[in-house]
Amino acid sequence: MNTPSRRKSSNSNGSSLHNRLSVLRAERNLSRQDLAQALGINYQTVGYIERGDFNPSLELVFRISELFSLPIEAIFSRTPLTPLSEAVYSRKEQTFI
């Protein structure tokens, strides 16, 4: 399933990358333009990354990670990502048990 929170890319180089960029952006009330300016990229590139049409470079992935203060694996994954809420609450439940 392709929801905005779990995008899968299959771009020109054949590799695939899933990401939670649109959810993180929505949580922080950031527009594509805001995020693009913070990262120093074109706002359309943000859309292409979110949609999975473009895999960002390692350098850009680090910048995104630093901007959201999250580890890279919380934002990008080579396997499909679970919804963020599910990931957080299942972790909390495990902690209580």
Binding site: S12, Q33, A36, Q37, G40, I41, N42, Y43, Q44, T45, Y48, I49, F54, P56, S57, L60
Partner: protein, 144 residues
């Protein structure tokens, strides 16, 4: 990183179908201009007078189409590295590669169908096929 493309107006948000219509219209106009000029140069008697306004019209629409394509693509095709982000650089480089081979094929066909220029065909084919590798060989830094 400063990025001039970020602050440009979002004219590039044309849907793909509309952009393709613009490309087709521009090249149709460009083809008509080429045909009209060819006709004019070959001086078919009695046709020159009515061809002139058409040449002007096709020239204007070709220039307008060229300008519109550049605006719609936010000038990515001809911009320097400094004003582009990594995806735009990838798109530009990929477009230039496709453009290079398209031009090579068109030039080769033009040479083949022009008997006078046929003598340069082997050199042209050699140049077209070796130029990208030659540039890479020239520019690549020392191996690590």
């Amino acid at each position: 990183m400063s990025n001039a493309a970020v602050t440009r107006p979002s004219w590039g948000e044309w849907p793909r179908a509309k952009r393709r219509q613009l490309v087709l219209a521009t090249y149709a106009s460009f083809s008509a201009l080429t045909a009209a000029l060819w006709w004019q140069v070959n001086q078919i008697p009695g046709l020159e007078w009515w061809l002139v306004p058409w040449i002007g019209l096709f020239a204007l629409t070709s220039i307008a189409g060229l300008f519109a394509m550049r605006v719609v693509t936010q000038h990515v095709g001809e911009a320097d590295d400094a004003v582009l982000d990594e995806r735009q650089r990838f798109v530009r480089d990929s477009a230039h590669r496709s453009a290079y081979y398209t031009v090579c094929i068109l030039f080769t066909l033009a040479i083949i169908f022009s008997p006078k220029a046929l003598v340069v065909l082997p050199s042209a084919i050699l140049l077209f096929n070796t130029l990208p590798s030659a540039i890479i060989a020239w520019k690549e830094p020392e191996p690590a």
